[in-house]
Symmetry: C2
């Protein structure tokens, strides 16, 4: 496999972008990434998106966006893995360059959710769950996560308030990120009195939807060495793994097996241990997911994710900083775009461009993007050369 | 790039499969392909599908189908390029194996269209066209193709009846294919008196929708050589190219530039000329598309596609047989599955397993899958070793 590096990154603010169509939104991130890379275009385009069909009445985003950004005739396709679509697109772009089929590829994640009424969006998000056995029982995504969190509290004897530290950390970091949907810190008091959505998940446990796009330009490492300027960012680990789509089919609903498998494969490929990871962009769609991710990736013992949060280990000054640019919670969660935001944010950290929430001397960063309720998980590890 | 071969193929009949869910349908093809390959599973799964979100209220097909076929934990994702989704999934599986990231991958195309009312399906198909500039004007897919065909008749002085030979050939071949939706030959009289849908496209110019799934197992060529039995099928060319999503944005609406580009790249990679291709599974969603494909791939002169059909060159005994197992017209067009049916059918021909419509001494076959109205086109060339 040919080694691959990221030469450029771009993103839009996560927001309500009512003045931009889906392809315009993707275009902003792609053109910013191209500008950052110094390239005028790329040989392939991979578009991560979850629900443009129902939400925007537009599929076929590969052709649509390639043309819009001035890459007419370029090879392009749309990649979907529910909320893991962004990282799945990144992995596809990586394969294309690693195989030698192309010498440059763009991965972009894009989602435009705020044009649709909330009840429609809830239904569209539910297409990532099992239509036959979860959704038909009336389960929405927040309800599935509430069941998991309820069981977690019971099993490991944590209180609901112990999860506040995840949200407080995410909002503290998001306050320094001009691309974050929410740029204000919150307090424990705000967390504790925020409205309940699906017991025990309250508003401050849940990430907000939004419109947004983030992109990266991938090239062979050799090319980056001669054109990449002072800081070369290598992709040293990439893996994806699935689990049952329905949570009730799992032997243990409190263990993210797909996360464990993809992380272990990525560590092995990168030849690093969890102790060598300087920051971790975790998929904190709900605070319970941040806890479970820390455990399945080897940063926390089983059932002890909240301990890391409450001990301050997840702060930018801690042992394993997470959500360093706000995470899904504060930066926002435009579902099919999220995985690419995570990649872009890891690279900002590795380049030393994460002003206000910079992790000192960050050299190896990890991003993990989760599709469904832990059913399709991608782990990427990047390193400063 | 590591060389890649196809070790196994499988398919379902294109039909109204009201007794099977989407994942069950995909499972039939995947398990048949695995059985054919002698493998129990694969390291990666790529699912080509266009519209399971709106049509089946189920996205996230990677995780859903991987688990269903006994490949829980396998890396899996969904690939979409409108009606080109099947070939896009095949190309993605090829990249994964070619890069060395995995040693086996399954590509499956699946679509389940007949559960939805016809008017809903027409709207869902239209998400492959330009939502802002085509669909908003009331253009459906058949209407767009009718405009193209109308212009073609005017420009090149063909009569509508000259297109009957495409449909007659497809149905003659489909009559021998147990997996085809329509297994009865038609006559020129039937073609000429069949009902008009969108002038000049009549019912016999248009491919039928349907439910169906087709799959292939890809492995490194070296592995196939030691495990593949007597006939090894190599993938010697693969390319994808896009064009404007809206037909009116093209300089020449009668020329499939994306087809030309992807075919030329595939020929170059395979180191073959059109003259060396023994059969061509063309994307005859409408008979006008069969004509345009023959021209843009170099088999016919510009404006002369219908001549090949009327001279018998497209018959299984002709110079460049097309639709050898019925094509989209008679085998059926379950949109996101079609590209994989084409691949499977080329391999049947190369293995000598196309009983009733076998092309004698077929050694090199080509498949071209078109997404949208010529806006995302994949060309694959396969060869018997």
């Amino acid at each position: 496999m040919r080694e691959v590096a990221v030469l450029g990154i771009g993103q839009t603010k996560v927001d309500e972008h009512w003045d931009k169509s889906l392809k315009e939104l993707a275009g902003v991130a792609i053109l910013a990434a191209l500008h950052d890379s110094g390239l005028a275009g790329a040989e392939a385009l991979y578009v991560g998106n979850m629900m443009s069909g129902p939400a925007n009445h537009q599929q076929h985003l590969g052709a649509s966006i390639a043309d819009w950004v001035g890459m007419r005739y370029t090879s392009a396709m749309h990649i979907e893995a529910a909320c893991g679509s962004g990282a799945a697109a990144f992995r596809s772009a990586l394969m294309a360059v690693a195989s030698g089929a192309v010498d440059s590829a763009i991965a972009v994640g894009v989602e435009k959710m705020t044009d649709s009424p909330g009840d429609e969006i809830t239904g569209q998000l539910a297409t990532a769950a099992d239509a036959d056995w979860e959704v038909d029982q009336g389960l929405s995504f927040v309800a599935i996560n509430a069941l998991i969190m309820q069981r977690y509290l019971h099993e490991y004897k944590w209180s609901k308030e112990d999860f506040g530290a995840f949200s407080i950390n995410a909002h503290a970091n998001g306050a320094h990120n001009p691309f974050a949907r929410f740029q204000e810190p919150i307090t424990a008091a705000i967390y504790n009195r925020s409205g309940m959505i699906a017991d025990p998940i309250n508003l401050m446990d849940a990430s907000p939807i939004g419109d947004g796009s983030a992109a990266a330009v991938l090239v062979p490492l050799e090319y980056a060495r001669s054109h990449g300027g002072s800081r070369i960012i290598k992709i040293i680990g990439s893996s994806g793994a699935t689990d049952t789509i329905a949570v009730h089919d799992r032997r243990d609903p409190l263990w993210l097996t797909a996360s464990e498998k993809s992380a272990k494969q990525a560590y092995a490929q990168a030849n690093v241990t969890p102790q060598e990871i300087d920051l971790f962009e975790a998929h904190d769609a709900f605070s319970i997911m941040a806890a479970l991710s820390l455990e399945s990736t080897g940063f926390a013992e089983r059932g002890q994710g909240p301990r890391l949060a409450n001990e301050g280990a997840i702060l930018t000054t801690g042992r394993i900083p997470i959500s360093t640019r706000g995470g899904l919670k504060a930066r926002g969660h435009p579902v099919g775009a999220t995985g690419m935001y995570q990649i872009v944010e890891v690279i900002q950290q590795l380049r030393g461009e994460a002003e206000g929430s910079q992790v000192e001397n960050a050299r190896i960063g990890m991003a993990q993007n989760i599709g469904g309720s832990g059913s399709n998980i991608y782990t990427h590890i990047l390193k400063v050369e």
